[in-house]
């Protein structure tokens, strides 16, 4: 039966394991996990020291815990953080009081909850490894506790129980079973969702809601690939791809009005955004693979014409809408000329409309604008102000109260991602009666060494601003996001490819696990149904048949290899099984080793006499020899125990004995050497 000290030490290790992700999370403040960590370290290092405080002291500690939780913010920032703090402090105290198995099991539940908090709050890909390792540890601890519960000795001679291999295989199988469970479990959501605003990732969206706060994960999913069909170099200006603009501002939301769409009719297969010239000479021709279309085509500024196999319509802001295509990629060609917007509509009243006037934001805008009167000067000033006075961060934090997110960003938070910067500039300019709108699209990407291919990822999604500077200048692009936050161009090198591979993994993590939801489930069912329909067709494909043959050959080869390895493949060569067990064989080896060093081993020598001589010759191996003697006696004369099963353990024992023999040889050699020297 496991002793209390061993249980306490085990509890300490488990708590340390549960706390491992805490330093990488922001939900729990460091002092709290540090206190719990200190308790865990104490358990590991001093498992015998059991605290037995009086009830008064315990009550005092309880009060102190409550005070600490309240002092750390209480419920001001939601229930999760204080609950986490409370849990950690309670666990830290509880584990130190464990003095029996019952207390251990109760504390284990608390440690398990700490682990749940850790896992549930982790978003990085490494959390998957942590989770899998935790599954193995959980199985090991579970089996061990139950074995202990039925009174089975866990650390007898030989290897302890449970065997690590068995546990890992069980955990691995449990994981395999868990995958379909994970895929089919309902993703329903709830009106009181706690974590809905967390776990978002970067990417183009046909509207912007700044009310969704929290940390944005950079998704490395490839959004589109731009290729220069004639081998022309893709110019940096073409790496900013525009979706559309949002002119309607409502409590932190930016959306397009979606009115006055103009259907685009192709002329000889080509749609002209600029007045038709009939010639595409001198224009850069680009082919764009939009892997996950989201309502809009992504177009470089200055796009003159488009060729696409879909219906298209032009909105008021130069955005080209396409028909709904769920998950179907779209390939289209564009011809790019000078940097001009199509369908340049002058601003309307809505381009300066704000849902409500915020005096503080207005005052800030006026302060920044100073005595500048022209729209360009004011826009320049605000852009510069935002770029220099505010910080870029993917983590927008958590709002404390229900305020306008733009005002909260401008006046309190002062850091955020590009949508906050763009939104803030739009709102500030509109407070100054300057027409402005937010633009959503992509910026930068990974460009090939030849400069003719650009891979744009969802991490390159960006938002910027277009400001109306009069009929002559039209809508002019401004980017108030600090340069550090603007997705740029990257070259494709060897290291870059490694990084891409890693990013692909992260993408898989993002899309298939972290943000896996109802849509993905529907896609999965769709895919499965489609695959079922395609099976007859696939079976007629030579490549599929070849692949099936290869797989069958590999499986057959593996089975044969396994059989050969187990010597069952050759029935005419039966496996040799020694009648003598491994411990007895080791004793024979030991007896043979004794003879050269002067040991007396008559044919009737007993196991114990051989062991006694060996222990006296090689004192450093005495413990291992004793154990070997016991095993050999058990093997030869015992009625219980199994034979021929502990070969690995005997091999380890023999290794220890050999080590003792060698050290003796070294000592003797050194002694002889010193004698010769003297």
């Amino acid at each position: 039966v496991i002793g209390v000290a061993a249980l306490r030490r085990q509890l300490g290790w488990l708590l340390l394991w549960a706390l491992l992700p805490m330093p990488f999370m922001y939900i729990v403040l460091p002092p709290f996990w540090l206190i719990a960590g200190a308790a865990a370290v104490l358990l590991v290092l001093q498992p015998d020291r059991v605290l037995r405080p009086s009830k008064t002291i315990l009550n005092l500690i309880g009060v102190l815990i409550l005070v600490a939780v309240v002092a750390a913010g209480g419920l001001n920032i939601g229930p999760l953080r204080p609950l986490g703090h409370l849990l950690l402090l309670l666990t830290a105290v509880r584990v130190l009081l464990v003095d029996d198995r019952r207390g251990f099991l109760r504390s284990l539940a608390l440690v398990g909850m700490v682990w749940v908090v850790s896992v549930a709050s982790s978003t990085h890909m490494v959390a998957a490894l942590y989770f899998l390792a935790s599954a193995g540890i959980g199985w090991w601890v579970g089996v061990r506790l139950h074995l202990d519960g039925v009174g089975i000795e866990l650390e007898g001679r030989g290897r302890g129980l449970p065997r690590t291999g068995h546990v890992l295989v069980a955990a691995g199988l449990a994981f395999l079973i868990a995958v379909p469970f994970f895929l089919v479990m309902p993703r329903l959501g709830s009106p009181w969702v706690a974590g809905r605003s967390f776990g978002r990732s970067t990417g183009f969206s046909p509207d912007v809601d700044l009310g969704k706060l929290g940390r944005l994960t950079e998704s490395q999913e490839v959004a589109l690939i731009v290729t220069s069909t004639r081998g022309d170099e893709i110019e940096p200006s073409m790496t900013r791809l525009r979706g559309t603009a949002f002119d309607q501002v409502m409590a932190g939301s930016f959306i397009p009005r979606r009115t006055e769409l103009r259907a685009l009719e192709p002329s000889r297969g080509i749609v002209w955004l600029q007045p038709e010239t009939g010639s595409l000479d001198g224009l850069v021709e680009l082919e764009i693979d939009l892997l996950r279309p989201r309502r809009y085509l992504m177009l470089p500024r200055g796009t003159v014409a488009i060729q696409a196999e879909t219906r298209m319509a032009l909105d008021l802001y130069g955005g080209v809408l396409i028909g709904y295509r769920r998950g179907q990629p779209l390939r289209y060609r564009v011809w790019v000329g000078e940097d001009r917007l199509p369908n340049v509509a002058p601003p309307s009243a809505r381009d300066v409309l704000l849902p409500r006037d915020n005096p503080q934001v207005r005052a800030l805008a006026q302060t920044v604008a100073g005595d500048r009167r022209s729209a360009r000067a004011r826009a320049d000033a605000i852009e510069r102000h935002l770029q220099t006075e505010y910080n870029y961060s993917l983590n927008s934090g958590v709002r404390i109260s229900n305020v306008d997110p733009v005002a909260w960003f401008l006046l309190e938070r002062k850091e955020g991602h590009c949508e906050f910067f763009a939104g803030a500039m739009v709102v500030m300019l509109r407070h100054l009666e300057v027409p402005a709108r937010m633009v959503a699209g992509y910026s930068g990407g990974d460009i090939s060494p030849a400069g003719d291919e650009l891979v744009v990822r969802e991490a390159n999604a960006h938002a910027w601003v277009e400001v109306w500077l009069g009929p002559d200048a039209g809508w002019v692009a401004y980017d108030p996001t600090p340069p550090a936050g603007v997705p740029g161009l990257g070259a494709v090198s060897g290291m870059e490819r490694v990084r891409w591979a890693w990013q692909q993994l992260e993408l898989l993590w993002d899309q298939r696990l972290l943000t896996f939801g109802l849509g993905e489930q529907i896609d999965l069912v769709d895919g499965a149904i489609e695959l079922l329909h395609r099976i007859p067709e696939l079976l007629h494909r030579p490549s599929v048949v070849r692949a099936a043959v290869v797989v069958a050959a590999i499986v057959a080869f593996s089975v044969l290899l396994r059989l050969w390895w187990k010597r069952r493949f050759l029935p005419w060569r039966p496996q040799k099984r020694s009648a003598v067990g491994p411990a007895s064989r080791a004793m024979r080896r030991l007896a043979r080793a004794l003879i050269p060093v002067g040991g007396v081993v008559p044919p009737w020598a007993t196991v114990r006499s051989i062991g006694g001589q060996a222990a006296s010759f090689w004192p450093q191996s005495a413990a291992a020899v004793d154990e070997l003697v016991e095993r050999a006696e058990d093997e030869l004369y015992g009625i219980d125990g199994e034979h021929n099963r502990d070969a690995a353990e005997i091999a380890r024992l023999w290794k220890r004995i050999r080590a003792g023999m060698k050290s003796r040889e070294l000592t003797v050699t050194a002694h002889r050497q010193s004698t010769v020297d003297s």
């Binding site: 749940v116 868990a178 469970f181 006696e633 125990g641 199994e642």
Partner: protein
Amino acid sequence: MSFADAFPGFRLRLTRWGALYIAGCVVLGLAAVNTGNNALMSMLAMALGSYVISGTWSRQVLASVDVQVSLPKEVFAGRATYAQVEVTNRSRLFPAYGLVLRAPDGAAVLTEGLVDRGSKRRRSVEMVFHRRGWRSVGPWRLEVLLPLGFFLKSKEVLPDQRVLVLPRLLESEPVLELSNGGGARSMELFSDRGREGEVSQLRDYRDGDDHRQLHWKQTARQQRPIVVDRQHAAEGPVYLVLDPRAPDPGDTEVQDRFEIVVSEIATVVVRRLRRMAPVGLVVGPLVVPPVRDPRQSGRLLRILAEVELVGPDSADPAELHGQPVVTFSIGGAG
């Protein structure tokens, strides 16, 4: 193979831990569905996966573990008897963890930490029968709680089995006197001082052997108790006569005295046969001719194991003329 064949007397019980686990899964499920947090979903999925694997594992273990119990041929009352229990795991995939073999009264007869795939473990289980006669062993149940102990699954591995328990053997041989055989003689003839006579054979120690018979050198060499059998001077056959009649067979005091008498006779039978001295038995009207070989002891001991008190009107013990006889009755040996 039907379910009943694979799991005779199958029982399934949700453990407290299993109930807590299910409750935890429900809470985790509510939290996961409510928040849409995929980490919680993963935990729930893993918990359910573990549940499935644990259940499958324990079910397979229960189906593939066999328990064979073999009792020694001679089981004497009051002496520790060692039953050989062999636990075999026939499964090629699943190691069997945490097997518990329980007696009908719920006491754990045997706990086995691990029986690996395709291997067997042999254990000795000490059993003590306090009274002679037919006694039942079993049914024993094999319980599997592991790997994660959500359910306690069990099946019968040893059906109710009857064992004939031979009479209790006494430590010292009773001092008795012969009659009808040429005058009274001391029973010293029966006692074996352990030293005289030629060595006839060395053999393994058996229950009831005198410790003075141990051959210590051979015991040390062979690492198991070895005793010496010696050839004694030829002894003539002796009949041991048991009169089971009693005025009041239901009286417990009488019954106790009767048990002592039966034990005395059994002791004499065993001791005499070990030195190859012929001994016969008369129980009431039943006469068993003398036997000499210890291997024939069962013929006498089985009768002694089953003999019961009878009323005073029962038949007299058979009379033997011209044979040395020792008569035993509840009043004492005569």
